[in-house]
Symmetry: C2
Subunit: 470 residues, 2 copies
């Protein structure tokens, strides 16, 4: 037996294995004996070595094969840090509101309505129809299916007062969710390093999109009635910003609803500063005691960029939204969308249009309104009874969230951990602040699973709060 000879065979076979697919068969021992002009024992020894190294496996009576499952060796991707340099911003890969948790938990954290609040049958029927239709195998235009563009334009046009030009279908760009719209608006219209005025607190997804676009966030405090117009004007003047992002209807997280007068005042300030108002009408379908009247309907001068999403009200799987904008701003958003995704799946667009044009959709929205009211009131009652230390800033007239101010000095991390260990998942308010949080807040979403558990959830929160302030 020649050790050198065996090593030589090992080396040659390793070369061969390195370019072979896993599972491919090695020549028989007999062929290898011939090929390498070595003894069967030497060949066997080489094969044993390769087997021990995890590179091949023999199946008795069948043959010897390149191993499919290889022994993992530790990888070091350190070189990438040098190649990539510092990240542009420390970005969370996801928010706590996107967490999936056990079904047994009482979930107040999620931002997405529970399945029982979705128009399940309409969605399934619409997707089934879309599957049979042309949309399943064709490619729609970059700006969207013309019929869906028309639907979005008509919805806003229906509340446009006389004397104002209603939007046309060509003002509409269909989006694969409003998050994509935020990204495009911030990167195509504001740009890296430039200031963006943003309500504080506000939707964490908007903060995330803005940070990812590298814009400079300038918080504008916003209470239950919306931002103070004088404060907004000062912020425009001090920063030279040309855009203000806001949720005038059932703002996430505060539930704030601007009065029509406040809307007009803000629009005037925006116009006076030659700026844009990004009106994120995320909860258009979630009115409880009022219905949102978009500010965009009162503007035909291109100052309002209107975002309308169907994702949360139709289905998270039908990820469809629209941006309505006019003038060069619309062209720049469209160019960014084209470069980013080229077009939005026609199946999703067709299914979304199908759902919202069914008579059952209006029935669904009416039922939804009642369900949200019941859930909201049950949660408020539970908090007032079982967690009196939590202050309800205002009773939201719509939307999905209750915003609670906690006593000064509350340790939010400890509180959320204590609640979680008792099976209640709440979202600390910090994520909704573009800068430092202005106090200890939590957001409770009342559209999750199992509203019957709200009293129990409130009890757990109340106990954790009491312990926190003992």
């Amino acid at each position: 037996m020649n050790n050198d000879s065996s090593s030589r065979i090992v080396a040659r076979l390793k070369d061969r294995i390195s370019t072979s697919a896993p599972g491919s068969r090695l020549p028989s021992t007999r062929s290898l004996v011939n090929e390498f002009q070595a003894s069967p024992v030497t060949v066997q020894k080489a094969l044993q070595t390769l087997t021990m190294q995890g590179l091949i496996e023999s199946r008795p009576g069948v043959g010897t094969f390149v191993r499919a499952v290889r022994t993992a060796r530790p990888s070091d991707y350190g070189w990438q840090s040098a190649a990539l340099g510092s990240p542009r911003a420390v970005l969370p890969t996801t928010s706590s509101t996107m967490r999936s948790v056990s079904n047994e938990a009482i979930s107040f954290h999620s931002g997405y309505p529970d399945r029982e609040l979705l128009p399940e049958r309409l969605v399934q029927a619409a997707l089934a129809r879309a599957a049979r239709g042309d949309a399943a195998l064709s490619r729609p235009p970059v700006a969207g299916l013309p019929e869906l563009q028309s639907w979005f334009a008509r919805e806003l046009g229906a509340v446009t007062p006389a004397g104002i030009n209603p939007p046309t279908p060509s003002d509409v760009i269909v989006l694969p969710g409003s998050q994509s719209g935020l990204s495009s608006i911030f990167s195509a219209l504001v740009g890296r390093g430039q200031p963006l005025l943003i309500e504080s607190p506000t939707y964490w997804g908007a903060i995330l999109a803005a940070r990812n676009a590298g814009v400079r966030l300038v918080p504008v405090p916003s209470g239950p009635d919306g931002p103070d117009p004088a404060e907004l004007a000062r912020a425009f003047e001090e920063t030279g910003a040309r855009m203000f992002y806001a949720q005038p209807h059932f703002a996430n997280p505060t539930g704030a609803q601007w009065s029509p007068e406040r809307g007009s005042q803000v629009l005037d300030v925006v116009r006076d500063h030659g700026a844009f108002l990004v009106e994120d009408d995320w909860a258009h379908d979630f009115g409880i005691t009022t219905t949102p009247a978009p500010i965009a309907a009162r503007d035909d001068s291109g100052h309002v960029i209107y975002l309308r999403s169907l994702t949360k009200s139709v289905s998270p799987a039908i990820r469809i939204a629209a941006v309505i904008a006019r003038g060069p701003a619309r062209e720049r958003i469209l160019a960014d969308r084209g470069a980013e995704t080229m077009y939005v799946s026609g199946v999703l667009q067709a299914a979304a249009l199908d759902v919202v044009t069914q008579p059952g959709w209006q029935t669904h929205l009416r039922n939804l309104r009642h369900q949200l009211q019941t859930r909201r009131d049950l949660l408020i009652g539970s908090i007032r009874e079982h967690a009196p230390l939590a202050h309800i800033e205002s009773v939201p007239k719509g939307g999905l969230n209750l915003w609670l101010r906690l006593p000064d000095g509350t340790n939010l991390e400890r509180l959320t951990n204590e609640c979680e260990s008792a099976g209640v998942i709440i979202a600390a308010g910090n994520e909704w602040f573009p800068a430092e949080p202005t106090g200890p807040f939590v957001r409770l979403n009342y559209s999750g699973a199992n509203p019957g558990a709200y009293p129990q959830g409130a009890r757990v929160l109340g106990q954790a709060l009491t312990q926190n302030h003992r």
Copy 2:
């Protein structure tokens, strides 16, 4: 009759109309007479004025209504130009390859396979099943449906040689189309103003995504065998770039297929420069006489970022692709995807997985291979016979495109216009060059509708070329 009184009524009603929804009813003439203390004739005159101004309409016997369709007045969005400043780059909203043209035209321009090349029944059945399943009403994780991540990882793992760690499902990020992946890779890993090496010519969508991300494009010439490794090394050294974007298999537009040796050489150069290779395997399912062997399978050190799309082979409506990457690079891409779209529709992911795991998918791919071969050969034969002035640079072993070098001095604009007026749509090659085109080229796509018309299309091209060089 008092003219002043009529004007006063007009003014008051205009105020009221400006805050009314279109279609809402005005009070009766009788009520207005009472309200304004005016004569019926004066009120009628005021209503006529408003009718002529297009603000109201009367429906005899029904009433008077705020007009739904208002006379458009010209809008001036000039203020936006001041607010927006210069665009980051002059971006086309779309490529000529995305144009929709009349069904009668002979289309060589589109980048998307004709419906007859798609697995129509598999797609419809998959979407119908997805419509009934959980995916229709739920939200998948940011990185994708775990089963689909596994499928993409297994596909690449199956050709990973022994001794290399195959990718794991958690290395996979599911994308809403590979264009989104390109955008994220260029903006999260290269960044504004930084150099990116890119094959020339190459896919216009990659050029578009890179320009939109603001990266600095550095063209690396690439022929039928891929780029010259020495040239690539020089480009890395001269620019300090840390990334090279390429399509090693059936490159769009040239059809180039790198040999395994060329792949290894390029990978060595990339590794030597501590850089990334973005391997865009766009035509993985479109092999004709060979099957792509991804370079990514030979790398487990995080140097290759692998893009694999299903959009073109499954259906343009099932806009699903994946990026497979390891290390910090993968985390940065994921963070950018999270900020950009949060997640990809579960219906599309479930349907895509359904299609590619059906036994019929393999049958479809085999048939597709034959159809592409027939179409390619028919087109090549037609060009050789009827347009001999067009030089076929190389016969593609896969993909969807034939790349033709035209005689020096060809006026591409005149040529494409002449062909179009004769009903033949071709794409001028200029769009595929990241810098100046290196000559007059056209790209003919052989996956469009009506391959029977190829001889006629070639005849039209041949005549236009002859006229161009008479």
